[in-house]
Symmetry: C2
Amino acid sequence: MSIVVSIPDVDKTNWWIEQLQALLPGWTIRPIHDPGDVEKVTYAVVWKPATGAFLPFPNLKAIVSLGAGIDHVLADAELPRQMPIIRTVGTDLTQRMREYVALHVLRHHRDIPAIAANQREKRWQQLVVPPATQRRVGVMGLGNLGGAAARTLAALGFETLGWARTKREIEGVITYAGDSEFSEFVSRCEILVCLLPLTVATTGILNAALFERLPKSASIINAGRGQHLVEADLLAALESGQLSHATLDVFDVEPLPAEHAFWPHPGVTITPHTASLIDAPTGSRIVAANIERFEREGSVPDLADAARGY
Amino acid sequence: MSIVVSIPDVDKTNWWIEQLQALLPGWTIRPIHDPGDVEKVTYAVVWKPATGAFLPFPNLKAIVSLGAGIDHVLADAELPRQMPIIRTVGTDLTQRMREYVALHVLRHHRDIPAIAANQREKRWQQLVVPPATQRRVGVMGLGNLGGAAARTLAALGFETLGWARTKREIEGVITYAGDSEFSEFVSRCEILVCLLPLTVATTGILNAALFERLPKSASIINAGRGQHLVEADLLAALESGQLSHATLDVFDVEPLPAEHAFWPHPGVTITPHTASLIDAPTGSRIVAANIERFEREGSVPDLADAARGY
């Protein structure tokens, strides 16, 4: 029995193979470009696999996505139909996303970009902002990550709103559901956090129409996928002052090209897709446990729904 | 009956007088340099009053400090002995300090200074940091503000330690007390937050000996008072790499002079004494309620202990 690993970065591929091998000593674990006997490969552990990457393996039982999202797997037009896709989630990843959202919402709330600019100018200026209890923050997407983020924001004192495709109940959070309540939700968010899964319906959801609907000078934080955002619309909304700031962890093209307008933009804070980074030592424990359970039971709780897209 | 207001900034003095007058219509409220009939003045509302500021008022009943600390009042060598001093605290100020500590601890934890430097260089680099559950953060001072900050950090997932002069029990926080446990506490803090009151015993507590005791590459956040920190020792510890970063809200001289070495230092983040800024609309409600209660009952729960210093 063997496992292949497919990650664009070679160093990371080797790091994951090493960590997984220590946890799964009975398995042969190899990079996807050097798989050994293709008949023996039953699992593929992947991040952004190439189109047709799975075709060489006739006995594949499941694909393991190195992340909560599966859009990067579904992007493969030659993906074997009905192939189970296992998401990688867990308390550690949820913890990291809670931290990211708390940090960057607080950063927008307390206007740290302006305070940093003042420091560069050696300017002592006491900007007055309201307490979090008078600041409305909205979270789009209330799954594992979004739900935890919304609860964390509410615990920090923010007036917290949440929106998802279907109705969710979260203590301390005012929730909205579906297309019919979307516009009302958006119109109330001074800081808007996107943690949606990437599907056909959510592609380009952060666009000019949404920005116009936000309160004047609102800000956004995108830790979903780059394809949620219409980049040109964001630049226009920052230019007009409709939006005051954007913090982006994900981009249409990653790594973000050096010539991209976002890098030097004073209204854009860039983090390099590290909101909830899966490192090999932590993530490999989750992946190994999921493979062992899938072997034993033929399924796992973190199985994605490919038809739904997440 | 009248109230005088003493704040170094003239605009702020007028803002406070306006807000307090609306809440206390039966009182005459004037700036301290133009007090009217000095015999009628029974309360002084102050931030950093001048030496001897209270001598003209023979019938003063109490001084109201516009902040949780009273060190700026006790600094007056001619302060009338036994004069009651009322601290200004409240859920709003505690909320603001929770936000500040959560924001800046998360900012150190996730290495935002390095991420910001990378953005300036257009460098896409995924820095790996542990989750908060594997990060030890310590809070010095466990009063109203420090206790709330420690609870907030624990709720965010940090391994949270706390130290105070006397033993405090806080759920989810490992607490230390007194001189005998100080060294052990400090030696465990990867990120150290100072929220101590300023007293003779705590002046200069953030010094070379403490920095040496911290784990290598630790960072500090000072939202207590500027006099807690020995500035030259901090610069030396940043230079040697013993400390990786410092976020400072308070300074020995405020506003921080334009020529100060902290302004351009890449290892120092400056906020202009706004961690828990009291704005007049919110703060005046607390001040007015305290004055009315002191009139009625001759005391208030937020009375400071001048002998203890806080």
